[in-house]
Subunit: 139 residues, 2 copies
DNA sequence: GTAGTCCTTGACGTCGGCGTCAAGGCAAGG
DNA sequence: CCTTGCCTTGACGCCGACGTCAAGGACTAC
């Protein structure tokens, strides 16, 4: 099949496929007229890439999975290098989620305090004093 | 004070300050020689910006807080517009954290399954079959 | 005078993953 | 022959928040 059909079947664009090829991730055979030619195996590789991308994996992180499939393994994650990527991603996710939870807590507290102060300013009492806490960058 | 000192006291760079000024967020007075001049109030505005940026707020999202301070309010979040930003940010954080949690769960399951299959492949039994589940993009 | 340190503006570079033209080739239908 | 629709390569655009470099002015110390 040609690039347009492959893109459509994988739910992506021809531009993305050419980009993957430029990165050496999904090379294509060529027909006599110069058109890129793909088969069902390429579709599987591409689906693996898309699935991981949809999970938030960077393109480079999908490479071990693609290499694994191309080496003849039944699944992209049948190889140790792929498992390593999974593990690193989990650690990354845990760290990120932890940071976001902390930020969420802080922002929630700020909102609650500010709403309180805004409400107290109307009835006429003197405002209570709270300190902003802050421990450096998050991202 | 001049730009270098302000940057250092706020823990940022002169480049960032010029950038904020170019965005109309932190305009500076000028000395006769053309140097930018700042006072303690500017430091407070800048600290407000940095605190929010460190929480992951976009620069534009800090504008209501800065405007609020500049309007004479005791805190950057003493104004309704700032509270709205807090609320939107909370919703954003909740959505993001929820997505990341879902991804974390999926990736964790994939890892567990792949590790199982890798382990089972050695002892010699036939491999169990599990399906990949996938429901579209995450970010 | 001159060395050193600060300041100025302007402009290009970074990062990832493509989107979006532009100019032209190839194949098929009418 | 002409149009239509797919394909090719090449190259610039985008987003956010600055980093980094270049060329030159201002001020201080010696």
């Amino acid at each position: 099949m040609r690039i347009g059909e492959l893109a459509e079947r994988a739910g992506t664009t021809t531009r993305a496929l050419r980009y993957y090829e430029s990165r050496g991730l999904l090379p294509a055979r060529r027909a006599v007229n110069g058109y890129r030619t793909y088969d069902e195996d390429d579709l599987r590789l591409l689906q693996q890439i898309r699935t991981l991308r949809d999970f938030g994996f960077e393109l480079e992180e999908t490479r071990p999975f693609v290499d694994c499939l191309r080496a003849g393994h039944p699944a992209g994650d049948s190889c140790p290098a792929s498992l390593d990527v999974y593990r690193r991603k989990l650690a990354e996710l845990d760290a990120l989620i932890g940071q976001l939870d902390a930020v969420r807590t802080q922002v929630g507290a700020q909102l609650a305090r500010a709403e309180l102060e805004a409400g107290a300013a109307l009835p006429g009492g003197p405002e209570p004093r709270c300190e902003l806490t802050h421990n450096g960058p998050t991202d």
